[in-house]
Amino acid sequence: MNGWSELDEFLRTDPRDVGCAQAMKMMHIYADLVAAGASVQERYPGFAAHLRSCGPCAEDFDGLLAALRDEAN
């Protein structure tokens, strides 16, 4: 990816984006679903759109999933 496409990607907004408040409120539910094998992209595109654009929420979701996977092992 060159700078041009990276800038374009950063500036693009998705109207389905649910925002941080909704994402944080429901994150534990999505995490259980994903840990059980569900696809967030297919079932919850607004949450998936948010994670693509929000570094902090994506980091938290990754951390929560990592915790669940470690617990399962």
């Binding site: 990816m1 060159n2 700078g3 041009w4 990276e6 800038l7 374009d8 950063f10 500036l11 693009r12 907004t13 998705d14 109207p15 389905r16 984006d17 649910v18 925002g19 941080c20 408040a21 909704q22 944080m24 429901m26 994150m27 534990h28 539910i29 999505y30 995490a31 259980d32 679903l33 840990a35 079932r43 919850y44 595109p45 607004g46 949450f47 759109a49 948010h50 693509r52 654009s53 929000c54 570094g55 902090p56 929420c57 980091e59 938290d60 951390g63 929560l64 990592a66 915790a67 669940l68 470690d70 617990e71």
Partner: protein, 223 residues
């Protein structure tokens, strides 16, 4: 569009009831006496384990190491335990209890890392060095002739199209690389409000660049 404006895709509550393990956690934590004390001790130990694992996962990307990172994990676990016990009545059984509880400690780790960078900023919050922008987006210095006009147009759009708050958030996060959770503390705000401010700024800037032919006109991702 306002991020967070739709609740259409909220997963529905688990009306069938709690799984046995979650129900047991709730029973013990709602109890009084030694059963509750023992459950709190066990929950705290689990939160410490999750917090330590999480700071270790994030550690390589942070300028925080050793005892400071360990201290951060213990503080996050302690504050998460307070949040969990205070919000126990809000747990509706839509996930396993432990997943709900772990969410709080993950959020506390994020908040504590944000506060750490607020106390030790790498760049002053009000700095404004536009020379960082090419590197921020990976523009090749050898091809400056190709992107100089684009970044000039972006700079003008930031100055002309954004509100003062949108501009401040864009400069802090994009130019200065201030973590969003750190900016939350600096601006006495919350993650959702800062994200929405940046979301609106991104939408305006892209529209301005598209109107002037620097970027294609569509605004919805294809992925």
């Amino acid at each position: 569009m306002v991020p967070g404006g739709s609740r259409a895709e909220e997963p529905t509550a688990a009306a069938a009831g709690l799984d046995a393990e979650s129900a047991e956690w709730l029973r013990l934590l709602a109890d009084t006496g030694p059963g509750r004390d023992s459950a709190l001790e066990r929950l705290h130990a689990m939160l410490v384990r999750i917090a330590r694992r999480e700071v270790a996962r994030r550690g390589p990307r942070l300028r925080v190491t050793g005892p400071e990172l360990e201290d951060l994990a213990y503080q996050a676990a302690a504050d998460a335990l307070i949040a969990i016990t205070g919000k126990l009545g809000q747990f509706r059984g839509e996930s396993r209890f432990t997943t709900w509880a772990y969410k709080f400690v993950i959020f506390e780790v994020s908040a504590k890392i944000g506060r750490h960078f607020w106390r030790h900023p790498a760049v002053p919050f009000d700095a404004e060095d536009w020379d960082r922008l090419p590197d921020r987006f990976g523009f090749d210095p050898a091809r400056e002739a190709e992107w100089r006009d684009l970044l000039g147009a972006l700079h003008r759009a930031v100055d002309d199209k954004l509100t003062a708050r949108q501009r401040a958030v864009f400069i802090a996060i994009v130019l200065n690389g201030v973590p969003l959770d750190t900016l939350v503390i600096e601006m006495a705000s919350n993650r959702n409000a800062i994200y929405k401010t940046l979301f609106d700024a991104r939408r305006k800037l892209r529209a301005a660049l598209a109107a002037n032919g620097y970027l294609p006109g569509d605004s919805l991702r294809s992925s």
